[in-house]
Symmetry: C2
Subunit: 325 residues, 2 copies
Amino acid sequence: MASIKDVAKLAQVSVGSVSKYLNGGKLKEKTTIAIEQAIKDLNYEKNTYATGLRTNRTHTIALIIPTIWHPFFSELAFYIEAELRNYQSKLILCNTQNNYENEVAYISMARQNKVDGLIALTYSNVDEYISSEMPIVSIDRYFSEKIPTIMSDNFAGGGLAAEKLIQAGAKKLAFIGYGSIYDNSTRDRYRGFQAYCQTHGIESEIIYYEGRHHEFNEKLPELVQQIIINKAVNGIFVVNDEQAYEVLELLQKNKVRVPEDVQVIGFDGSQQSTNIPSSLSSIRQPIPAIAAAAVKCLINVIEKKEAPLKTILPVTYHPGATTKE
Amino acid sequence: MASIKDVAKLAQVSVGSVSKYLNGGKLKEKTTIAIEQAIKDLNYEKNTYATGLRTNRTHTIALIIPTIWHPFFSELAFYIEAELRNYQSKLILCNTQNNYENEVAYISMARQNKVDGLIALTYSNVDEYISSEMPIVSIDRYFSEKIPTIMSDNFAGGGLAAEKLIQAGAKKLAFIGYGSIYDNSTRDRYRGFQAYCQTHGIESEIIYYEGRHHEFNEKLPELVQQIIINKAVNGIFVVNDEQAYEVLELLQKNKVRVPEDVQVIGFDGSQQSTNIPSSLSSIRQPIPAIAAAAVKCLINVIEKKEAPLKTILPVTYHPGATTKE
């Protein structure tokens, strides 16, 4: 492979001039033309290790998510990667699978200079491994230190779900969901839901479980039966779409018709792919806007420019087949 | 940040000894203990640029796919990333969005030493940019040069779809699909389907469109009406799951009941996430096995070991709600 020295030799200029050219410096027109011709003739491509060593930038960003195999996270990764291209940066994909060791291993990558920064969406207690000196932006979760956070307006989303269920004719509502103890965004969803119900004098049940997914799933069949049969609930807001699909399956097993007998609204509003729309009524998170804000914010942190500590983006209602409206 | 020199100074050993230690070389026990203590005291972490420069390995692999925002590709990326962890390698995610310039840009990354190799799933004609000297493994598509390819047994899958439709009671079958002119795997699906029908004397229609997705989608409503009304088809094999969802929507619009009047089988068998099973009957590609084979094969190519040129993996039938069996 051709080196910078080969280019200089062929162009009959100094190595310094070629270096200056490669880094966007101004040169005489004659010199520029000679260098460009030599680069073309030699099919020269910049050695990125050497560049990384010099500028301390790798132009790679790590995206830390629980799993890419999930419509919300895959849509998010899609838009973040597209956004990073505007900054000539690449995305390293890190699936933590909610495994603490995996998360810590990925975060330590940044210290080793392997990436310029992190965009993290994590529900573990990794606070002690994260210092605010490391370029990091958090999505969907506040850290204890001063780390910029991008999130949807979960509180407003909870209220919007209650409002839409009532508008569509539901009389008695329930919230169903679980979250990790570090997960404040899902708590905001039920708080917004609860606040709306209280303000408007609407009867509502709150089922919120703090713990692990599989523990909650074991309890779910009984919980769903209880609220439908004993409590006569006819409008359910579920904490996220994935859980909503599980609730829908349980309703079907109990011969409850959706949306005729019970209406269901999820949260996320993501779809499987660009071409397959979701049939679930849901509060949609503004995924393209979250991606754009996270990337912009991280680039600012890396370049030591000012970045907002909290960015809260508005949600919208996506009507599907699980509500009457 | 502490450097290798700082470690050597504190441990009172030579820089060479520290370097030897970091690269797994044997040293006197006393020296090893002193270096380990110094590394701990200084919180020293290896500078990866320098390592990359020395060994010419970045321990990163680029995965080139049309879009991560799709259940098949997100499941594939999930397993490839997990597999790469066994080789201490990271995954760089590249969504080409079927854009030729994007594909070429990503492939040129490898030349710039930014990644150790590529795993590519592409439907464009990028042959001229790919030379077999570059560590690359292809999924789902043969390249003209000698590049190792991992794929599902598409031909057998097409036959299996026809067999399952007949077993479930369908009498007259159709294949519906499209593919790019460079896409041999989708062609194998209808060829396998066709071969099965011919061998078993089954009446069948083949609708295969070579071209772009949106062009095909414009024709789809008319095609579906034709085969259902004029041809009385009652079993449809669709080239992939995404297309199958579109066909299902059109059948619903035409008040055709699935699976009562018409049965439908897709191809891919991917699901939205670990926890949401798919309701579509489909020929499932062995995604975890494809991921494992692609990574193993690429590592062998990078390390200049022998790698099989073609790996064809068996498919299975996933019965869902769109067939009677």
